[in-house]
């Protein structure tokens, strides 16, 4: 079965090709076909997983070469897939969540004029994402990496008639490409120093690398991760990406693509570990982003933007985990996040579907009565996100904080707790403003159809029960399964003063505290939150604009960049470079104009010229001898 791993990316790819080339005839069955193919892909993944579980933990890494791709001299980048626990966990997440979201989309996108196109892109995305996670060398990984970027662009800008959507798509592609390019250079550096781009050889050689080189490679790869996973300072595209259809936000901008950065760091952990500073950078970037994005999320009124900042924040958490060496935990949180965040997004989508696109929480309210399933789903997802005990988010987040604490990074731990507190506040706020209280505008929402509700329910179940798979950092199923690939989780012998249980209690208390505070402000009815908004207008705007990072880029990079380009084009190129050329031409014309005046038409002038020439010529000859 392992040999058939190529089917996993190939099936959705085939779907994409078919739907792109024959979108019109396939229009009626586009959604079904696309879902079916991703489902089939999921099934194949499961079968491969079963195969994998059937062999010993040490033999669970298999490379399946499909064909030679680029091969010149010593450089070889074959299309070769890697089946190992890490890639399978990722593949299952991608196909699993992907399948649910495909199904959800069938109804959600119903009636859209580019229905086939939508599923083609979605299928293409799944194929690219699977290529990314299954690749066995850096270049093929990069193929998937850019492929998902493309699909992200296509899907964000899916409703391209809207200027904002088109802009957002372009922005996403370009900002992530900045990181991607750094990553590409990292790949070059890896090839240049290790002589290969295959994982086994590159990571195998990591230990022998000079620490400076390892740091460079690690940080360059991490730059790619920062772009793709929307970490500071390349996070600016993700909030805008919410212009895309909501299922897309759920799949790409929450569950899968944005987690690719985390996957990359975990996959390449050998290199990060060979460097003294790289892991530290990862952890710090992660935690700073987590807090920053959490604060920004509080200031958002657009429900999807709340979730977007939340995603950024949670990805920060994952990097924190990776940065303190808890790779398996990072992946576990990744999977957990995929479930609950997808759930949250689908719920938000359901809201949008019901309100004809109104998503501003200040205009919503009281939706729970009209849409109980959606409200419940959102609540479950929110609680999981906040880290309420026994939901999946509790376990994963708790393990991350514990890992930070146990690694002796108390600062990270405390900041992580702050982030968790903030998380609880913003998600509670979002829930309360959307679903509780009185409706704040004239809307006639209705519950979503079954094809949308069922996937939400399934994800909800996952968010509730997922914890069973990885309840403990040392003994969780996921963590143990991943162990051979990412390093066995170390059993820290209580490095700090607090026991594991103690840490859990603290984390839970923080989460509950956050929820309580948010309830006090937004749900209890005792505080007039709208008055508060007006009172702290400046601070609120700063939060809602993400502390003006985007504006700063505009002022500091984009505007001067445009000016520089404009200068190059209209002054440098036309005046200086081209001007020099044309100047030479003009000089000759002018010279000719002057020269022709010497031709006076007078015989005596000509005779004079003749005489002077003759004299000069004879003199030159005679004098020289």
């Amino acid at each position: 079965m392992t040999d058939l791993i190529w089917l996993v990316p190939a099936l959705p790819l085939a779907g994409a090709v078919a739907l792109l080339l024959a979108g019109k005839p396939l229009r009626r069955i586009a959604g079904g076909l696309a879902s079916l193919l991703v489902g089939a892909s999921f099934v194949v993944s499961v079968l491969v997983l079963i195969d994998l579980l059937g062999v010993g933990a040490e033999e669970r890494t298999v490379a399946v070469k499909i064909f030679d791709w680029i091969s010149v001299g010593s450089f070889e980048a074959p299309v070769e897939l890697r089946v190992d626990p890490l890639s399978m966990v990722m593949a299952l997440t991608v196909t699993g969540v992907g399948f649910l979201i495909h199904v959800y989309s069938i109804d959600y996108m119903h009636g859209d004029p580019r229905y086939s196109r939508y599923f083609a892109y979605l299928n293409l995305f799944v194929a690219a994402m699977l290529t990314l996670v299954l690749a066995n060398n850096l270049v093929l990984l990069y193929v998937g990496w850019e492929g998902v970027g493309l699909c992200s662009y296509l899907l964000i800008a899916f409703w391209f008639e809207r200027r904002a959507a088109a802009d957002a798509g372009k922005k996403a592609f370009i900002v992530t490409r900045i990181g991607d390019t750094a990553m590409l250079i990292g790949i070059f550096l890896a090839f240049s120093t290790t002589g290969s781009v295959r994982f086994d050889e590159v990571f195998g050689a990591a230990g022998g690398l000079a620490s400076g080189t390892a740091t460079a490679i690690a940080l360059l790869l991490f730059a790619g991760a920062v772009g793709k996973s929307a970490q500071l300072p390349l996070h600016v595209w993700l909030p805008d990406a919410m212009e895309g259809p909501t299922p897309v936000s759920a799949l790409i901008h929450a569950a899968t693509m944005v987690t690719a950065g985390v996957y990359l760091v975990v996959r390449a952990h050998a290199i990060f570990e060979a460097s003294e500073v790289a892991l530290g950078v990862v952890a710090v970037v992660g935690i700073v982003t987590a807090v920053y994005a959490g604060l920004s999320a509080i200031g958002q009124d657009d429900l999807k933007r709340v979730l977007a900042y939340s995603t950024i924040s949670q990805l920060g958490y994952m990097f924190l985990a990776a940065g303190v060496g808890a790779y398996a935990v990072a992946i576990f949180h990744l999977v957990a996040h995929a479930f609950f965040k997808a759930l949250l997004f689908l719920s938000a989508g359901s809201v949008m579907h019901a309100t004809d696109g109104v998503i501003d929480v200040t205009r919503l309210g009281g939706l729970r009565r009209r849409m109980p399933v959606t409200a419940a789903s959102f609540a479950v997802g929110g609680l999981a996100l906040a880290g309420i005990p026994l939901l999946v988010g509790f376990f994963s987040k708790d393990q991350i904080l514990a890992a930070a604490y146990e690694a002796g990074r108390t600062g990270l731990w405390i900041t992580g707790l702050v982030a968790a507190f903030i998380t609880a506040i913003y998600i509670t706020r979002a829930y309360l403003l959307t679903f509780e209280g009185e409706p704040r505008s004239e809307l006639h929402p209705h519950e979503s159809p079954a094809l949308m509700s069922v996937p939400m329910a399934v994800l909800g179940v996952g968010a509730v029960l997922g914890g069973l798979l990885g309840a403990s950092a040392q003994t969780g199923r996921v963590q143990r399964f991943l162990g051979p690939v990412v390093g066995e989780p170390e059993a820290h012998a209580a490095a700090g003063a607090l026991s594991e249980v103690g840490l859990s209690v603290i984390a839970s208390a923080v989460a509950v505290g956050g929820i309580a505070l948010a309830w006090a402000l937004y749900g209890s009815g005792r505080v007039d939150w709208q008055a508060l908004r007006a009172r702290f207008g400046g601070a609120r705007r700063a939060l809602s604009r993400g502390f003006y990072v985007d504006d700063a880029y505009g002022a500091l990079l984009v505007t001067p960049g445009k000016a520089a380009a404009s200068f190059s084009a209209s002054v440098l190129d036309t005046r200086v470079v081209d001007g020099a050329v044309n100047g030479i031409g003009r000089a000759f014309v002018r010279l000719a104009g002057v020269g022709r005046r010497l031709q006076t038409g007078l015989v005596r002038t000509y005779a004079l010229a003749f005489l002077l020439g003759a004299a000069a010529l004879v003199l030159v000859l005679v004098v020289r001898t």
Partner: protein
Amino acid sequence: MRTPIAFFLVVSALLFTIGTVGVLVRRNALVIFMSIELQLNAVNLTLIAFSRQLGEVNGQVLAFFSMVVAAAEVVVGLAIIVAIFRRRVSANVDDINLLRW
């Protein structure tokens, strides 16, 4: 005692120069043409001087040819000048600058 050849050559060069200057400073086409004839004759003097010094006849032969040529040039030249004079009532070469630049 023969006159040194240098004397002839200098005189001839002077004549040639006078002719040249004449071409340059005079405006009447006829006078210019006469100056050219002067140049030719100056050269003839050189030729004959050399011929005499070398004791060789070719120079003199060439001098004869040059006279013939000069005569032919007179024929052609006068015809041209007269034709132009008829049309323009002027033999001033400075008036003849229809073709220029």
